[in-house]
Amino acid sequence: MKSPDFSYVRATSLDEALAMLADSEDAVILAGGQSLVAALNLRLQAPELVIDINHIPGLDRIELAEGKLRIGPLVRHAQLMASAEAARALPLIAQALPHVAHPAIRNRGTTCGSLAYGDPAAEMPACAVALDATLVLASRDGTREVPARDFYDGLYETRRAPHEMLIEARFPAAPEGARAMFAELAVRRGDFASLGLAGQLHLDAGAIAAFDLVAFASEPAPHLLTGVAELALGQRPDARLAADLAQAVAEAVDPLESPLATPAMRRRQYRALAERCLRDAMELADA
C-alpha cells in the first residue's frame, strides 16, 4: 500500500494551482485527501501530478451575504459543522454533517472536495441538489457556474472538466421556518449509506410552499424527486400526507440492484425512512 510515484506541488496561490492543472495532462487536486490518498495508496489512481492546495491562503472561508452561504474549497466538514452561521442558514447541512464519516475524517475532509468527487453515497452532493446550490468551477480560462442539479451525471461522473477546480459552493440560505428532512441507512454510524433522503420543506400559511427531496446512495447520482414535490405542494401537513408522500418516494426511487438488497427491499426501506423524516419535519412545522 505505497502509492506509485507522482510529482507533488504545494501551490501558493489559486492562479498557480489552476495553471498547473491546465498544463498537466493528468493532475489531481489534494485538499482534504480523505478519498484521494486512500485511492493513491491502493494504486487505484496514479496521477502524474498532485497539486496540494492546503497552503493557499483564503480558501477556507464561510461567508453569508445576500441570502447566500459561500463555502470555500478548503472549508473542512468539521469547520462547517462548527459554524453557527452555517447551521442557521442551512439547517439541512447541519443535520446531515454528523452523518459524514467520523470526526477524524471530518477534520480533514473538505465539503467542496466531497461535492466535486461525486461519491453516490456522499451526503453533501445530495444536500447540494436538494438545496439547489450553485457550484463555481474555475480554470485558467475563467470561471463558470453550474447548478448542482445539473452537475452530477452518474457514479463519480460530474460536469467538472479535468482542468477545472471547484472553488466555491454557494447555497441559498433557507427561508425562515424551513424544515430540514434528513435520514439515511448505514450499517454503522458514519459508514457509507446504502440509501438516504435529504431535503427541505417550507410552510406558508399552513400549507407546503416549497418541497425539495433527494434520494441518494442507492442510485448512481443524487435523485431529485420532483414528482413527490408536486404531490406535496399546496398540501397541509398531516400524518396522512406523510404516509402518502412516503409511498410516493418509494415508487419514485430507482434503486440499483445490489447483492445486499433487492429494489423491493430498498423501496420498503425508503418508505419507512421517508415517512419518519417527513413526520419529524411536519411535526416541527406544526409546533
Partner: protein
C-alpha cells in the same frame, strides 16, 4: 490481608504497560530495522484457481531499487512445502503448500513471486511489472459447490473436495426421536470471517551466513512453534533459529499459524543472506490471512413434554479453503463446531457428523473461540425452538437441561467431552437477576402490542480452555502445549519472570506479574516480565485456547512456591525457626515474632554476594523453572451464560442492541479489570460475527470486500453497555484455580444475538438462518414471511 488483596490475586490493578502502548511507544515488527534490510512485496495469484505457465521478471528487475525477483521454483530448492496432515486425524487430506506457487495456485491472493527491493515502495513498483502467464482452472468456492457430485477439484491432486469426515456420538439416534413429544429442526449458515488485527501480520528475517543462524522477529502468538517450523522447512537445527515476537497488536488466532508468505520471506533471507522485512498490507490481510467460521449446518432436537432433551442429531459442513493451515490444520474449528453442540446440557442421544470441504478460497484457521461459537449458536437456537414447541420459558428450558458435571462413573460425554463441575445454574440465576428478566419479558409483551419487536436472547456455553498436550499429542501435532515460568531473584531483590506465555494486548503478562508480586507481597513493579523470545524464555506454548493465566499463571505460581520455599528455608536457618512459621509480606519475611528484618533484597544479597553467611553454607537456587500442562485433563472447561436485549426494525431490517449481560465462571480471577475487558472484547467480536462481518467472494472466487470500509467490523458507537458478573468455581486441576477467559465472550456472543433476534422476530413468523444478520437478510426474511401469509 487487605494489602495482599490490593496487590495480589483479585486486585483490579490497571494494566502495566498499557500507557506505553497507548502513547505509541510500542515496538512492533515494522519498527524493527537492521543494516542492509531489504523489503518484500509479493505478486499474488489473480485467479481463484490456475496453473502457472511462466513468470516474466525483466521489467521488474529494471525498477530502481529492486534487488531480486524470486519465484516458487527457486525457493523450492531450499525450502520444503508445508505438509499439513496430522497423523492422528484419519482421512485428513490437504495438498502440500509451497511458500510460493510452483505450478498450481488454489486461491486468489496466494503468493506467487517475491519482489525484493531497497524499499517497500520500490518492491511494489516492481511487483506491478511482474507478468504472470496463467491457465485459469475451474474454481469451486461455496460449500455447496464443493460438495456437488461433479464438482471440479480445488486442487488437481485430488478427485473430490472432501478434506475431513468425522462423527461424534452414536451412529444412529433415531430411537430418541421416535415418539418424542416435540422434534424441532433448523438449518444454519455461518459467514466466513477473518480476525482483522489492528496490527497486520509482519516478519523480519535475518539469515546470517557467517554464524549460520536465523533470527526472526514476527508478529505472532507462538514463537517456539515457529522456531520449529522454520527449522523443519529449511532443514536447520532448531538451535540455530531464534524467533522473537515483539509487541503484537492483536492476534485472535490468526497469528497462531505458519503462513506460506512468511515462510517465503524467511527463505528469501536464507537465499540472499540479507535481512528482509515483509509487512502484510490490509488488502493482503483480507485475502491471505486465515479465515474462519464458514459453515452450514442442520440440526434436529427431540424433547419430551417437560422439555428434557432426548436427542440431538446434527450435521456440520465446514469450508476449509484451499489448504489446511500449518501446522495445526484447519479441522479444529469444524471438529469443535460439531463436538460442542449441546455441551452445556444433558442430552439423551447424541450424534454430530462433520465434514470439511476444500474450496478455492483462503485457508481457514483459528479465530477466537474456534468452532465453539458455531456450536453454541446452533445449540442455543435449537433450545429456543424446542422451548417454543413445548411452550416452556427459554430460561426455564435451559435450567432443566443443564449439565452439572459428568455423571458418576463416566469419563466423557457422548460427544467425547471431558468436563469438570459446571456452574451454569448459578450463572443463570445471577444473569436473570442482573437483567431483570421478568420485567424485560413484560415490557416485550407490551411493546409487541404496539408493533415494536424486541427480543431477549440467552446463550449458555461450555468452553474448552487451556488446551494441553492431552489433545495435541494424540493428533500427532508437534506443538509445545505446556506453559513455563523461569523465575529469577535478582541481586537487588527484584524478580524477573521469563514466561513462555505471550501477550498480544490481553494484559496476560501484567496479570502474571501481579500474581507473582502477590506471592511475595510486593508491588507488581518489582517483577520484570520477559516474554515472546525463544532466546530468552523457557520452552512452551504461547497464546491460544485461553491458556495464559490457566496454564502460564499456574506455572508462575509453582515457580513462586519453589523460590519462596528455598528462601524461607534459608531464612528459617538464620532466624532459628521452622520455615512453616515464616511468610512474605510486602517483600519482608514475617516470623512468629513479627517482622524479621530479612527481606527479598537482603536474602538476594546474601545468596549472590555472601553465600558463606548461610547457616548451612548452602544457598537455594536463585533461578527456578516450572512448567505446567494439565495432566489429568485434556483441557480445563469453563462455562457461563450470556443475554442480549435488542430491537428489530421490521421496515428497515436493522437490529439495535439495547443491552448485554454475561455471567462467566473462569474460576479464580487474578485481575478483574483484565478479565472483564477480555469478556467485553470477545463479546464485541461475537457481535461482529452476528451482525457485521463476512468475507465475501464472487462466484468465481474473487474477494470482493477487502477494505475496512467494506468488511464491516463492530465499532464502539453501535455497541451496547456490557454488564459483566462472575461466579467463581476454581478448577481442581491447578493450585491457582484459574480457567481460561479469553474466548468466552466470543463463544457465547454470537449465540446470544442469534437467539435474541429469533425471539424478536416471533410475531413476524420470520427466521434468519444466515449470518451475519445484515439489514438485507433480516428484511428479506420478514418480507418472505409476509408473502407466505
Amino acid at each position: 490481608m487487605t494489602e495482599l488483596a490490593n496487590s495480589g490475586i483479585g486486585a483490579p490493578l490497571p494494566r502495566e504497560g498499557a500507557r506505553r502502548l497507548a502513547e505509541g511507544r510500542g515496538r512492533y515488527v515494522d519498527d524493527i530495522t537492521l543494516p542492509g534490510l531489504l523489503h518484500i512485496a509479493f505478486v499474488r495469484a489473480p485467479f481463484a484457481h490456475g496453473r502457472l505457465l511462466g513468470i516474466e521478471t525483466d521489467d521488474a528487475l529494471e525498477v530502481p531499487g529492486v534487488v531480486a525477483v524470486i519465484d516458487g521454483r527457486r525457493l523450492a530448492e531450499i525450502c520444503a512445502p508445508f505438509d499439513t496432515n496430522p497423523p492422528g486425524v484419519p482421512g485428513h487430506a490437504s495438498a502440500p503448500q509451497p511458500p510460493l506457487v510452483v505450478d498450481e495456485s488454489c486461491f486468489q491472493g496466494e503468493a506467487v513471486a517475491a519482489v525484493v527491493a531497497e524499499s517497500r515502495a520500490a518492491a511494489e513498483d516492481g511487483a506491478e511489472l511482474v507478468f504472470l502467464d496463467w491457465d485459469e482452472l475451474p474454481a469451486v468456492c461455496s460449500i455447496e459447490d464443493a460438495q456437488a457430485e461433479d464438482a471440479a477439484p480445488v486442487h488437481t491432486r485430488f478427485s473430490d473436495n472432501l478434506s475431513l469426515r468425522h462423527r461424534f456420538g452414536a451412529e444412529d439416534v433415531s430411537e430418541a426421536f421416535h415418539g418424542a413429544a416435540h422434534v424441532v429442526e433448523a438449518d444454519f449458515s455461518f459467514g466466513r470471517q477473518t480476525g482483522v488485527t489492528l496490527e497486520p501480520r509482519g516478519i523480519v528475517a535475518h539469515w546470517d551466513p557467517r554464524t549460520e543462524e536465523l533470527e526472526v522477529w514476527q508478529s505472532h502468538q507462538v514463537p517456539w512453534q515457529m522456531r520449529e517450523v522454520y527449522a523443519r522447512q529449511l532443514g536447520l537445527s532448531p538451535q540455530s533459529v531464534r524467533v522473537t515476537a515483539p509487541d503484537v497488536g492483536g492476534a485472535f488466532g490468526l497469528k497462531l499459524h505458519a503462513y506460506a508468505d512468511e515462510l517465503a520471506a524467511v527463505a528469501v533471507s536464507r537465499l540472499l543472506g540479507r535481512p528482509v522485512k515483509y509487512i502484510v498490507d490490509r488488502l493482503e490481510s483480507f485475502t491471505a490471512d486465515a479465515h474462519a467460521r464458514e459453515a452450514r449446518a442442520s440440526c434436529r432436537m427431540a424433547v419430551d413434554a417437560e422439555g428434557h432433551i432426548l436427542g440431538i442429531d446434527a450435521v456440520v459442513d465446514a469450508g476449509f479453503g484451499a489448504y489446511a493451515m500449518h501446522p495445526r490444520g484447519s479441522f479444529g474449528e469444524a471438529m469443535q463446531a460439531a463436538q460442542m453442540i449441546g455441551a452445556p446440557y444433558r442430552v439423551g442421544a447424541f450424534r454430530a457428523e462433520v465434514r470439511g470441504w476444500r474450496q478455492n478460497k483462503a485457508p481457514s484457521g483459528a479465530y477466537r473461540g474456534v468452532g465453539q461459537p458455531i456450536a453454541c449458536a446452533i445449540t442455543e437456537e435449537m433450545i429456543d425452538l424446542a422451548s417454543r414447541a413445548a411452550d416452556i420459558d427459554p430460561a426455564e428450558m435451559r435450567r432443566i437441561n443443564y449439565r452439572r458435571t459428568l455423571d458418576e462413573g463416566t469419563r466423557a460425554t457422548q460427544a467425547g467431552l471431558v468436563v469438570e463441575e459446571l456452574s451454569l445454574d448459578a450463572c443463570l440465576d445471577k444473569l436473570l437477576e442482573a437483567m431483570d428478566y421478568t420485567a424485560l419479558r413484560s415490557e416485550q409483551a407490551a411493546l409487541r402490542a404496539k408493533g415494536i419487536y424486541r427480543g431477549i436472547g440467552l446463550a449458555s456455553f461450555v468452553e474448552l480452555t487451556g488446551v494441553g498436550a492431552g489433545l495435541y499429542g494424540p493428533l500427532g501435532l508437534t506443538v509445545a502445549a505446556n506453559e513455563a515460568c523461569r523465575l529469577t531473584l535478582q541481586p537487588d531483590g527484584s524478580l524477573t519472570c521469563a514466561t513462555s506465555v505471550t501477550d498480544q494486548g490481553q494484559g496476560t503478562l501484567s496479570a502474571i506479574a501481579q500474581l507473582i508480586a502477590g506471592e511475595f507481597g510486593i508491588a507488581p513493579e518489582g517483577v520484570r516480565m520477559v516474554a515472546g523470545d525463544t532466546g530468552r524464555t523457557p520452552y512452551g506454548g504461547g497464546a491460544w485456547a485461553s491458556r495464559g493465566m490457566a496454564l502460564g499463571g499456574e506455572a508462575a505460581k509453582r515457580a513462586c512456591a519453589r523460590l519462596r520455599d528455598g528462601l524461607l528455608e534459608l531464612a528459617a536457618g538464620i532466624l532459628q525457626c521452622e520455615p512453616e512459621a515464616l511468610r512474605f509480606e510486602q517483600g519482608e519475611i514475617i516470623g512468629p515474632k513479627g517482622a524479621s528484618g530479612l527481606d527479598l533484597a537482603e536474602l538476594a544479597a546474601l545468596c549472590h554476594y555472601r553465600p558463606y553467611d548461610s547457616p548451612t553454607g548452602q544457598v537455594p537456587p536463585m533461578t527456578v523453572e516450572e512448567s505446567f500442562v494439565p495432566a489429568a485433563l485434556p483441557y480445563i472447561a469453563s462455562n457461563g451464560v450470556h443475554a442480549v436485549h435488542l430491537e428489530v426494525d421490521p421496515e428497515l431490517g436493522t437490529v439495535d442492541l439495547l443491552g448485554y449481560w454475561v455471567v462467566d465462571d473462569c474460576g479464580t480471577v487474578v485481575n478483574p479489570l483484565l478479565v472483564d475487558e477480555q469478556l467485553r472484547g470477545g463479546i464485541v467480536q461475537g457481535i461482529g460475527a452476528a451482525l457485521y462481518e463476512e468475507c465475501l467472494y464472487s462466484e468465481d472466487g474473487q474477494f470482493t470486500n477487502g477494505t475496512l470500509a467494506d468488511y464491516v467490523v463492530p465499532m464502539a458507537g453501535e455497541m451496547p453497555d456490557i454488564f459483566v458478573e462472575h461466579v467463581s468455581t476454581p478448577t481442581r486441576a491447578t493450585g491457582l484455580g484459574a480457567r481460561g477467559v479469553g474466548e468466552a465472550g466470543t463463544v457465547g456472543g454470537l449465540g446470544a444475538v442469534r437467539t435474541a433476534l429469533g425471539d424478536a422476530l416471533v410475531p413476524t413468523g420470520a427466521r434468519v438462518s444466515q449470518q451475519p444478520f445484515t439489514p438485507g437478510r433480516v428484511l428479506a426474511a420478514i418480507m418472505a414471511a409476509e408473502d407466505a401469509e
